[in-house]
């Protein structure tokens, strides 16, 4: 005797094995399948033939997987990025932004170096705003550009002035700009210079992670189109 529930369970397994693994997508397809079966049965078809026709109309898992794959690939700037990874990125951006928001130094420098303080405030504000904006799909392009800019801000001084000069720029006790909470804390501790560089490397990795996470699918798309 045909059992529609058992048939649907088997159909779900078959779809999952074919690559449609997301439970929500399977639930939605199952809901469609049940609607179709119900209507056919109401019109006089047997449950078995109704199920077979409905499953056939939904299509094969491979074709569906390809179509769902296109949604992910063609979504603007990888909009389906993993939410957990996005949260880590956003937390990092906000932390970096707040770390730069060194109010006491801002007040001191506000008199001595107003343009520098304004720049620092703008930089910090942008970090916080874009960190929060990561959760807003439409602003992620800007956040990605921000990550790329941050990578450039780390790589450029090293490329242009060499390691020793860039170290000078990052060490506040040497009198160079770069007064932030993290550098103050680090400069008070008896840490060797490699620690500064390790921190810069961590920062650069995070920015790179951000670019790959947000723009990765779009970059992948460009390669796919170029090779097609």
């Amino acid at each position: 005797m045909f059992n529609v529930d058992e048939a649907i369970t088997a159909w779900r397994h078959q779809m999952a094995a074919g690559g449609i693994k997301a439970p929500e997508v399977l639930d939605e397809l199952e809901s469609h399948l049940r609607d179709d079966v119900e209507e056919q049965v109401w019109s006089g078809a047997s449950q078995e033939s109704a199920f077979e026709a409905a499953a056939r109309r939904i299509g094969k898992s491979k074709a569906l997987k390809n179509e769902f794959g296109k949604v992910n690939r063609h979504g603007a700037w990888g909009l389906r990025a993993n939410p957990a990874a996005l949260s880590i990125l956003a937390a990092w951006l906000i932390l970096m932004g707040l770390g730069n928001m060194n109010l006491s130094l801002l007040l001191f420098n506000g008199f001595r170096l107003p343009h520098y303080s304004a720049g620092q405030l703008l930089w910090a504000s942008l970090s916080v705003i874009l960190g929060a904006a990561l959760f807003c799909r439409r602003w992620r392009v800007l956040a990605t550009a921000w990550f790329a800019l941050n990578i450039a801000a780390i790589v450029w001084p090293i490329a242009a002035h060499g390691l020793s000069a860039s170290l000078y720029a990052y060490a506040p006790h040497l009198g160079a700009p770069g007064e932030t909470v993290r550098y103050l804390v680090l400069s008070l501790l008896p840490v060797p210079y490699p620690v500064f560089y390790a921190f810069e490397l961590l920062k650069a990795s995070m920015w790179l992670f951000g670019v790959l996470l947000l723009a990765g699918p779009s970059i992948g798309n460009l390669f796919r189109r170029a090779s097609a």
Binding site: V25, E28, S31, I58, A76, R80
Partner: protein
Amino acid sequence: MLSKELVAASAEPLILSLLSGGESYGYAIIQEIKARSKARIRWTDGMLYPVLHRMESEGWIASRWVEAENGRKRKYYSIKKNGKQALEQQREQWLTVHSVLSGLWKEKYV
């Protein structure tokens, strides 16, 4: 029956137009389009969902699960502000094509 290409190209404006009249779910959308087109527009049922998901990721439509009285769950889609703007743009494009074709055919057949 419409060609595969035309069916694919018209899917978004059809869905957006339909949803601008109120929220709906996949199976009902297919049935409605089938009825309105007198079965000349036929989508492969499963293929509607990737289109809906893409439109959702574009921010044009939103979805929510609704539980019916019999305990069955259905995912309802509704149009968002961005979707209305996208529909307006697409409407203009389709009307342009329609008006050019109408003009050309009028010259030819009248």
